[in-house]
Symmetry: C2
């Protein structure tokens, strides 16, 4: 791991109020610098190959801590039973390539919408998945 990436991960963890541990720093480096919408199992399988000591529970604990700290969001895709993690935590939508299953971010500016909910219902968040081909 590059020194600057290591330092960036450490800083991010600290800023988020999380303890800095070797395992978390390694995982953050992968999640934020080397992966794209990874599933938990992808993170775990990377960790098994690339980190000497790392248990499955630590992977899941770390992912959950990062979500709780607001550094990651979880997505559940209509086409798969796996939980997906997204380090883009600002509002945006997702495109799923039907051929490859690959997930791409869509700029929220590219979807304009207006919603009329029944009286008294209040929207707090919104998920949009576009399926299609490239």
């Amino acid at each position: 791991m590059k020194t600057k990436d290591k330092q960036a991960s450490e800083k991010m963890l600290k800023t988020a109020g999380l303890q800095v541990t070797a395992q978390r720093v390694h995982l953050c480096d992968f999640i934020f610098n080397q992966s794209d919408h990874p599933t938990a199992e992808e993170v775990w399988s990377w960790a098994q190959k690339n980190i000497d000591q790392m248990s499955r529970a630590t992977v899941y604990n770390t992912l959950n801590s990062l979500v709780d700290a607001g550094l990651l969001k979880t997505l559940r895709m209509p086409h798969s039973d796996k939980l997906v993690f997204d380090f883009n935590v600002s509002e945006h939508f997702h495109f799923i390539d039907e051929k490859t299953g690959r997930i791409e971010d869509l700029d929220p500016k590219d979807l304009s919408w207006s919603l009329k909910l029944p009286k008294g219902w209040k929207k707090s968040s919104m998920e949009v998945f576009i399926k299609g081909r490239k």
Copy 2:
């Protein structure tokens, strides 16, 4: 099961090109007349209580056959790891009540939207989940 419901289920199965069996007729009656966005496990637990002979595999087989035949759609909700079945197969969107987890259909007329995809990308379908409170 009411005679007219039984006949309706039989007709629906036939029309869809599926063999009519006692198990499928029972399950269809529940799915189409007595449930609302059920999960597979809800269907299975209903079946255990209400049908003498019914294996878990039959519940899943039947649900999958109904999906293949276009009579049901599957949904994967962002907030749950369970597959949900929807007998409303026409275009519509979903509202999830944050308090209860309950899923409500939204009339597609109540969400107007326009999407600008990158050159060459083609949308084939779209899922929208609104989370909020009532």
